[in-house]
Symmetry: C2
Subunit: 419 residues, 2 copies
């Protein structure tokens, strides 16, 4: 078979210019999150197919890259369906593996466990511009902390990071899964159809209140419920007053503690934030994954249409591994989107080392090469970046190219000069 | 299906203590190699099955984790062998993908291209202690540089890194594939059996000269060839004098330039090195992969039985992708082994930030929580690491655990004290 030069469909080669930004963002993530008490951890990229297919992943479970069984376990002739052929898959997110990891290692982990994960995930999505089938995720999670301190810490850590990466004027939209449900209950929607109601609600920013009304009507919901539901959204302001309104209106449908928790989160973050953003209560925020159980949040930026990250509380998921409930809350930043935005605005990584190129005459003797290398080693020991290159015929062009790569200093070393 | 708590067979969860070492080694790798002019790059973890099965990877091709075709392309009923079911696989090294990457992106890359790659690779090896089926590789390669400057630069960069990670008294063993071949030719072995001769030679450190003699005899080689061959090894000293001996002895069988090149590499590195190691000419060094075409090298450490890294020149491989020869040379350090050695000697990462834990009374009011968070944010802005934790009933035990995690400062915040 002929060798293929292109990467596999939907995945990409990363060129040095993008890598420089990625490496910088990674270093800022590690530094900033460490200051908030998060510790790095890692799970294998390959996960048991049973765990990936456990209904935690929603739509992502349809997009798994599956791994063929090996050796005697693989029986092609007897296989009838996919599951007969595979025993693993590439992880589609970092949350399912995190819960498995915690279940497997809880005895050796602190409580609460504040985890930082950076790693690739894979989804066999239809290839499209700017979306890839392999992409980096970056999650922070706090496992074992039931109080709102977890949400506050996660939001402050994430927004501090974004501020340090020079993002301004963004919004953290926040809601609570339990408020979502209480609003649907208050309006009289049947409980088994909540998910359908939320799928429609999720389109509010695109189709507006009227669009949502039409959509709900077409699904056959009672007009009274629809009217009562949409009336709520008209009343609610995108701030703590809005949360107060929800608390008053929903009366017996909502434990007032949940509203108070949301107010505490919003007020605390607003009071101590050190980046340029605002908190906004958004009762239309749904977040796709069904595993969320409490507060949910998402980062919106005007310069980017969609979400640049999000997260929330998922207190039930670890219990599915160990049979015992462990409170959990996480925030995932859209690493690839952040890198894309930085590339688009031609972001310059600060504190680059000075880069020097030695251009060595082809006629240098072994002793002269040694002297040149020796001089380079001394400069490197002083913290400089020195590249040793053989001088090309068109030296001027060579230097132009090196300047484009960020080289600012050149040393031409000729055989004659060193004699 | 029940959820599984353990990682998949042969792969591992990485706990925070090991991650701290890994993150530190990664940061040192990036910093040191950047000083030598290497730039980061990345390829997808998934590679075309055709490229992985192209006979570049030797034994590793038998260990590929293969990825099932998706959608209409997967026809389970018609499938007769593995290749009918799969279209991709997880990369088993970084060299094959690097060559594909260079072939695909050469127009956008500098020449020579000095690449730094860090990434996971996967091999379905028999699980055994200390060897995992997913492991990190860290390669530097210089593509487009035919002169020995490439080898010198690669060896100096690698040894500088090892020195900075506090490794001492190690050896870089060096040989040349063309010397290997010339020695076999000089001794009269038939060319088609060189690989078998080298497989036996590779065992020299375990079975000794006599063992090699027996092994070669059992394979049916002429006694005269065996005697002539082993006589050479008795003559050769592990230094540049040894290379001189080879050059004189092998006469017409070896282009003297190759011996001179090796001498230049050894002398240059010895003259300018800034780490505690020695260069040793080792005519028994083989390096498994058949793609090597020139100098080959390997790191030996007394504290670790086997190799801690290795590399060499492979001038023919990129040509298989683009039909045009591009000189190439690389050095791969055994990232996992280095991490293991550092863990074993209880290595302490230098320059850790000071870690402070705030222990918050459960009875704090929202305003008091806000004040505590505000104080933490100020300390973080000053560069400290501050963790916000809810105070547990057994505060003493909680602090002991935090001390074990590296926390040195504690602030107990009570509801009463803050009123």
């Amino acid at each position: 078979m002929a060798l293929k030069k292109k990467p596999v469909t939907g995945m990409k080669d990363i060129l040095p210019a993008e890598m420089e930004i990625r490496d910088y963002v990674i270093s800022m993530i590690k530094r900033t999150y460490a200051q908030f008490g998060f510790t790095s951890m890692e799970t294998p990229c390959v996960e048991h197919i049973q765990n990936l297919n456990s209904k935690q992943g929603g739509e992502n479970e349809k997009l798994i890259f599956k791994i063929l069984k090996r050796g005697e376990k693989l029986r092609i002739n007897e296989a009838r369906e996919e599951i007969d052929l595979v025993d693993g898959g590439l992880r589609y997110d970092l949350t399912v593996p995190l819960c498995r990891y915690y279940a497997n290692n809880a005895n050796e982990l602190p409580s609460p466990f504040k985890a930082l994960q950076m790693g690739n995930v894979w989804r066999a999505d239809r290839p499209q511009r700017g979306r890839y089938r392999q992409f980096m995720q970056c999650d922070i999670d706090i496992l074992g902390e039931a109080s709102n301190i977890a949400e506050i810490d996660l939001i402050l850590a994430t927004t501090t990071l974004l501020g340090q990466l020079d993002f301004h004027n963004f919004t953290i939209r926040i809601n609570d899964r339990r408020i979502l449900k209480a609003m649907a209950a208050y309006s009289g929607f049947p409980e088994e159809s909540y998910d359908n109601v939320f799928i429609t609600l999720d389109k509010m920013d695109k189709i507006g209140l009227d669009g949502v009304a039409v959509d709900l009507r077409e699904q056959g919901f009672a007009q009274e419920s629809i009217d009562k539901y949409l009336e709520l959204f008209k009343l609610i302001t995108p701030d703590t007053k809005g949360v107060e309104t929800v608390k008053e209106r929903l009366g017996g449908f909502l434990d007032p503690e949940y509203a108070d928790g949301l107010i505490t989160i919003i007020n605390s973050v607003e009071a101590v934030k050190n980046a340029d953003f605002r908190m906004a209560f958004d009762p239309t925020l749904v977040r796709g994954m069904s595993y969320y159980t409490g507060p949910i949040f998402e980062i919106s930026m005007d310069e980017f249409g969609g979400s640049v990250g999000g997260g929330g509380r998922y207190d039930e998921m670890i219990g599915k591994f160990i049979g015992q409930k462990v409170p959990a809350c996480g925030f995932s930043i859209g690493f690839e989107r952040i890198v894309m935005l930085l590339l688009e605005r031609n972001y310059q990584v600060p504190e680059k080392p000075q880069k020097t190129a030695y251009l060595l005459d082809k006629k240098l003797s072994p002793e002269q090469i040694r002297d040149a290398v020796s001089s380079a080693m001394k400069e490197r020991a002083e913290g400089k970046a020195v590249n040793l290159l053989v001088m090309k015929k068109n030296k001027k062009f060579q230097k132009q190219q090196l300047e484009a790569e960020g080289y600012t200093e050149f040393k031409d070393i000729y055989a004659d000069a060193l004699k």
